[in-house]
Symmetry: C2
Subunit: 203 residues, 2 copies
Amino acid sequence: MVGMTSDRPLRADAARNRALLLAAAEREFAARGLDASVADIAARAGIGKGTVFRHFPTKDDLLSEVMLDRIGALTAAGERLTGSGDPGAALLEFLTLAADRQQNADMSVLQEAHAVNERLTEARGRMFTLIETLVTRARESGAIRADITGTDVVLLMCAPGHVAGFAPPGSSPDLWRRYLAIIFDGLRPAGASPLPVDPPRMS
Amino acid sequence: MVGMTSDRPLRADAARNRALLLAAAEREFAARGLDASVADIAARAGIGKGTVFRHFPTKDDLLSEVMLDRIGALTAAGERLTGSGDPGAALLEFLTLAADRQQNADMSVLQEAHAVNERLTEARGRMFTLIETLVTRARESGAIRADITGTDVVLLMCAPGHVAGFAPPGSSPDLWRRYLAIIFDGLRPAGASPLPVDPPRMS
DNA sequence: CCCTAAGCGGACCGGCCGGTCAACTTACTT
DNA sequence: AAGTAAGTTGACCGGCCGGTCCGCTTAGGG
């Protein structure tokens, strides 16, 4: 019996604290990346540090759970787009959703993938498959150039948020949209120059 | 008398150690970013940790010196390109040099600019001016679209290395060239879509 | 209402890291 | 060759962080 998670239902206060904790962790990781400390997360949630470790045996487990939520939501939204009549617009919409996450560049934490949590890698795989589908359709419809692969898009999807993160503090919180537009233009067939290196293969 | 650095010439062994230290720091920062520890840098250089702090009062000062070297070399190379007859190619060549730095994504450390070292901000400013020049000429020659500013390029210049850094371990060390080509295509006039947000203003 | 197990929390531990220091070594001067 | 200032070094310090633990609180069933 490996992997059984639900022994019994959570007590009411525990469930509330767990939700507070996850929300706080999401905000804290978004703001400070992997350097966010467990103590700070606990403080932001208004609970004790020990309680964090009661809910998640490890900081990495907490991070995994947060990422799982995000990836799940993004994948679900993306899957709803696969039926769109305009594959190019669908891919752009998906990338917009992916880069949005309140202009944080931390979704990239996903890609580092230190925690090899089983459920997380599975969710990752599901999202990669989705992206492959969106990219294939966009490619076949002529919306993006022929030599772009799903892996390319996986690697590029967090770049707008990351790039915009370097802007000086006063800048528009929507700046990532500017760089998404530029990068997506680079994926279009118009005026495409030949690409010098083969795309990587994802594990 | 503020800013006088050269009281007297360094002793021979001290000069040698300083060079070893800077080389080791460059490699270590490139490999592990800001998380590189002073002890590891010292070990890589084959010197004691105390010696590091004799040469640089602070880890940030050491980092600043390394960045200063890099920015200086890159700026010098870039200034040699401003005379080129093909402004578009000159900009692309500059971006290639910038992203190259052995495919490390850590040049971005520059942009975070925690250390407000006076010389470093000056070097930064000189490089920004250079980039502005290269971009203006490329824009006026029609090599890149009209709505791209120097600031855009400053923010985008490290993206290829950063993006390629997420690729699985076995990938080509030249993968950044692929993403530089894609992003640069996004800067070209052909098939450009209107940009949704104004560019930021650099301090 | 009361009992108990589930949940909570903060003091505590070991390890790491940036930075200091005083004892030791070594390159240059005369 | 000898003196000395410059340079080196590793033990050491304080602070932070992930993770543990045990005494306390409280939800919720009977």
